[in-house]
Amino acid sequence: MTGFEGATLAIDLLNITLLTILFVIAIAIARLRSLFAIVMLSGIYSLVSATWFVALDAVDVAFTEAAVGAGISTALFLGAMVLTSRTAKAEKGATKIVPLLVVIATGAILIYATIDLPGFGDPTSPANTGVGVDFIERTYPEIAIPNIVTAVLASYRGFDTLGEVGVVFAAGLAVSLLLGFGERSLGASVRREDRVASLKKDEEES
């Protein structure tokens, strides 16, 4: 066995381990009823996926997954969870069977579709012979920054990124229009502190 084969075996084992962990977490999320545990497990799911993306050499995607999936989504889910009850209602009867069948059918179709996909890192795959090579060759002469992903996101696909930023901004706007701007609790707590202060003052005076 050459060194390269050993490395491939190690990477395969790593992939299998990470995917098994993801599978177990997904089953646990589906079976649990405590929302706090589900929020925490989905954060862990994102973190493990990010690790797996690093193993697949998609460092930018892994970074985004770790920051957005494990970081901000978990915090936002916690904030949303505080507004609702702490446990989900148990499903029963047909609502349990039908989604399972849909998921199994979709999974089978996706696995069938992977048969036609090129192997991972295949140098003759369309992604590695067409537009990918073009970006690698053109980015440095045209834009002269080392990170091709940033060049594609900010310059070649600048219009797409504008749309993404618009979506994020619209989400923030929509949530604050629906739920209020968040000044309510600030006002309440400031009023409470004022009341406590005035009570103390009254006590001192009397």
Partner: protein, 150 residues
């Protein structure tokens, strides 16, 4: 605070939150050289504010970063991004065509670099502001999160 059993959490968070915020800026300004950029940096900065408000309470966080300021930053970021596109239009190029920003000869990279840096600042502001706004909208509806709520 008397009888505070979150003292370890508070002490650790006090040391960690500035590091998280500085790391966010590092990710932003190294976006051209390493993984990351305005989007991730904005999220990391927002997380530092959210972590502060989860641990020290929402009201102190809202005094430091007011909800109005978060909204202002979110809108400003989006306007900065569009502004670069309009700037390119005004210089005679296409929308968001950074080569037109300074009407450079072919082969010049100043326009590309300026365009990318400015729109990344727009992305940073818009994402950080929107995320903090969303968190405030959720968390602002309950005045205090009690221990038994978890």
């Amino acid at each position: 605070m008397k009888g505070d059993h979150h003292v370890i959490l508070r002490v650790v968070a006090k040391a960690l939150i500035p590091v998280i915020a500085i790391y966010g800026f590092y990710v932003h300004f190294h976006g051209e050289y390493s993984p990351g950029g305005g989007f991730q940096a904005g999220v990391i900065l927002a997380v530092s504010v959210i972590l502060y408000s989860l641990i020290f309470g929402i009201a102190p966080a809202m005094r430091a970063i007011t909800p109005g300021f978060a909204r202002f930053i979110a809108g400003l970021g989006f306007i900065i991004y569009i502004g670069v596109g309009v700037w390119a239009l005004a210089m005679g190029g296409n929308f968001l065509d950074y080569d037109a920003l300074f009407r450079e000869e072919p082969g010049g990279h100043l326009g590309q670099h300026t365009g990318i840096i400015v729109i990344e600042i727009g992305v940073l502001f818009a994402v950080a502001g929107s995320m903090v706004t969303i968190f405030y909208a959720f968390a602002g509806r309950v005045s205090e999160i009690r221990d038994e709520d978890w």
